[in-house]
């Protein structure tokens, strides 16, 4: 069973009088533990796809099965529970809550989920250690460097031990060196079995993924895996 199964996904937006097909006829399967890069020019539907996968957005048509369960028909609150337990987000601009300390930001998903303070403190301490942030626990985001901020964001995304991490241009606001660090962190998580989907403009970063999806005008232009499979088919056929 694939972790993600999209079939016949359509997502249309109304811009003025014209309807824009952000996603059209999208079929996609992603297995658990995969490392996928989604690439393509601006407006190709990358972000829409990511929002859809993160249950922040609903398709107009088609079904989305996450871990074999149709999640498109869930109520908003049920979707929130799925986001809380199964999905972690990493954003380009970090999206940390400025008035909360690094530790509090990391603990936020657990706080929202109603996990007891004792358990929270235990997990946050571990996460701070894992991400090299022990000395920064009580710092507010504006006292942290870009790389530290993104590490806090990644720690936050993983604190609920999700099956899937969605990263939207995770290195977009970082210099090359810190960007490299962050990618290494994400890849380390993937190596431990977490499915990683990264939206990126950066071809270098995209190339590091084991599978590349290229989007254009809301359609999948190329998928390195199906290419492999079709090649495989050609070979075997």
């Amino acid at each position: 069973m694939a972790l993600i199964e999209l079939s016949g996904i359509e997502r249309r937006f109304l811009l003025g009088d014209t309807t824009v097909n952000a996603l059209a006829g999208l079929n996609l399967q992603i297995e658990a533990g995969e490392y996928v890069a989604v690439m393509g020019p601006s407006g190709s539907g990358k972000s829409t796809l990511l929002n859809l996968l993160g249950l922040l957005d609903r398709p107009n048509e088609g079904t989305y099965k996450l871990e074999g369960r149709d999640v498109t028909t869930l109520s908003p609150d049920e979707q929130a529970t799925v986001r809380s337990t199964r999905i972690g987000f990493v954003f380009q601009s970090f999206h940390l809550v400025p008035r909360l300390t690094a530790a509090e930001n990391i603990a936020l998903p657990m706080t929202l989920a109603g996990i007891s303070p004792a358990e929270r403190n235990k997990r946050v301490a571990q996460a701070l250690k894992d991400f090299g942030l022990d000395q920064r626990a009580d710092h507010k985001p504006d006292q942290l460097s870009g790389g530290q901020r993104q590490r806090v964001a990644i720690a936050r995304a993983t604190i609920m031990q999700p099956a899937l991490i969605l990263a939207d241009e995770p290195t977009g606001n970082l210099d090359r060196h810190t960007g490299e660090e962050v990618v290494n962190l994400l890849e380390a998580l993937n190596a431990r079995g977490v499915t990683l989907i990264v939206v990126t403009h950066d071809p270098g970063m995209g190339a590091r993924a084991r599978r590349q999806l290229v989007m254009e005008d809301g359609r999948l232009k190329s998928d390195s895996r199906t290419d492999d499979i079709s090649i495989l088919g050609k070979i075997s056929g």
Partner: protein, 402 residues
């Protein structure tokens, strides 16, 4: 989200925007303070007036000459056109009523008092020994009027504090002979100074036996009969009995009016109570305004924190969690505002009491409770709309605004 976490989150959110928070807390506190201070003023006025009336004497029933109601034509009216005077004997007859403790007839007029070449105009009250206790006057020096036959007044007088000061200065007044009108009277007592109050100012009063006053003013009639009932419960009985007794003596004609101090007091009490309510109502408008301000502030907060709301949703917050967080913040703003306002109001009332010690400016409990609960309720009610708006935000749109 746990309750304590929701509250902490709301608190941090509120303190994260100090200016906005301070302003809305200030608005709410001014509203509550207005309720507290204005009701303290209104209720203070009520207590002041009630207190003044109570000091006129307790359980008082007053008989006045003349009818209060309008009657139709009856044969009795045709025979006697003018009402009968109230006489000393009328007053004497009331002494035998079972519900009555004390009776004091009262005749008043103005006259002159002279001593040692000094002359001044005074108010003369003719009454009996019980007058002073019924009216709660206190004697500073000497004694009151003697107990004696009401129709045979001895030549004595009790004078007010101001008259004593002006006529005698530093010299002793007790035992001196003064001239009041055409009589020579011996001063037997001096009243304690009471200052200005409702009713009669006793500082410029001369009290003489009632028959003496009547002779002085050449009249048989009384101005009032003051009756003190045995107890508060006996007031109504005393009123009816006094009316019946006088009516009997006046050949069945109801030509007097009997009022109770209680009734007068109740009227004032009601009147000023209504005034306090009205003032509280006006102050409550400022609470409503403060509530709307809290709503405004919370709407601004929702707009300001759109990105944050989107993030919370992405991190798995349900609509309910977000609604509760914003509602808790609104409730906190109004609760703190209400508390600060309560303290400010009590401080203001305290200041009022310091500046006007005679004025009992205490806010009534009901106003404090109503003010505080209105503040909390408006905060919550006006917090609902922004909270719902926050909860309904589309996470994708909200995240893009970050």
């Amino acid at each position: 989200m746990r309750l304590t976490d929701t509250l902490r989150f709301a608190r941090d959110a509120a303190t994260g925007y100090p200016m906005r928070t301070t302003l809305s807390v200030l608005a709410m506190s001014i509203g509550v303070a207005a309720v507290v201070i204005l009701t303290a003023l209104g209720d203070g006025a009520r207590r002041y007036v009630v207190g003044q009336f109570s000091s006129l004497g307790t359980n008082l029933v007053i008989v006045l000459p003349g009818r209060s109601g309008t009657g139709g034509f009856n044969p009795a009216n045709a025979i006697t056109t003018t009402p009968r005077d109230l006489t000393i004997d009328d007053a004497g007859s009331l002494r035998r009523l079972p519900t009555v403790r004390r009776v004091a007839p009262l005749a008043v007029g103005t006259s002159e008092i002279a001593f040692g070449g000094k002359l001044r105009e005074v108010m003369v009250a003719g009454s009996t020994a019980d007058f002073i206790p019924i009216r709660n006057f206190t004697i500073a020096q000497g004694v009151g009027l003697p107990e004696e036959d009401w129709n045979r007044g001895s030549s004595v007088a009790v004078i007010g504090a101001k008259i004593r000061d002006e006529m005698f200065g530093a010299n002793p007044a007790i035992g001196q002979l003064v001239r009041v009108g055409d009589r020579r009277l011996r001063v037997v007592g001096v009243l304690a100074s009471t200052g200005q109050g409702l009713g009669m100012n006793t500082d410029e009063l001369v009290i003489v036996p009632v028959s003496l006053a009547q002779a002085m003013f050449n009249s048989n009639t009384l101005f009032r009969i003051l009756v003190e009932a045995n107890s508060r419960d006996a007031i109504e009985g005393a009123k009816d009995q006094a009316m019946t007794a006088i009516k009997q003596r006046h050949r069945g004609e109801e030509d007097v009016t009997v009022i109770t101090q209680d009734a007068v007091l109740a009227t004032f009490d009601k009147l000023l109570g209504a005034l306090t309510l009205a003032v509280a109502g006006i102050a409550a408008i400022s609470l409503a305004v403060a509530g709307i301000l809290v709503m405004n502030v919370m709407l601004v907060a929702v707009t300001q924190r759109t990105g944050e709301i989107g993030l919370l949703k992405a991190l798995g917050a349900t609509a309910r969690t977000i609604r509760l967080a914003f509602l808790a913040e609104a409730a906190m703003l109004s609760a703190v505002g209400a508390l600060v306002g309560y303290l400010l109001g009590q401080l203001g009332a305290f200041a009022l009491r310091q500046f006007f010690p005679v004025f009992p400016a205490y806010p009534p409990d009901w106003a404090v409770i109503a003010g505080l609960s209105t503040a909390l309720a408006t905060g919550l009610i006006f917090g609902v709309m922004p909270a719902r708006r926050a909860a309904r935000l589309d996470p994708v749109q909200a995240l893009m605004k970050h």
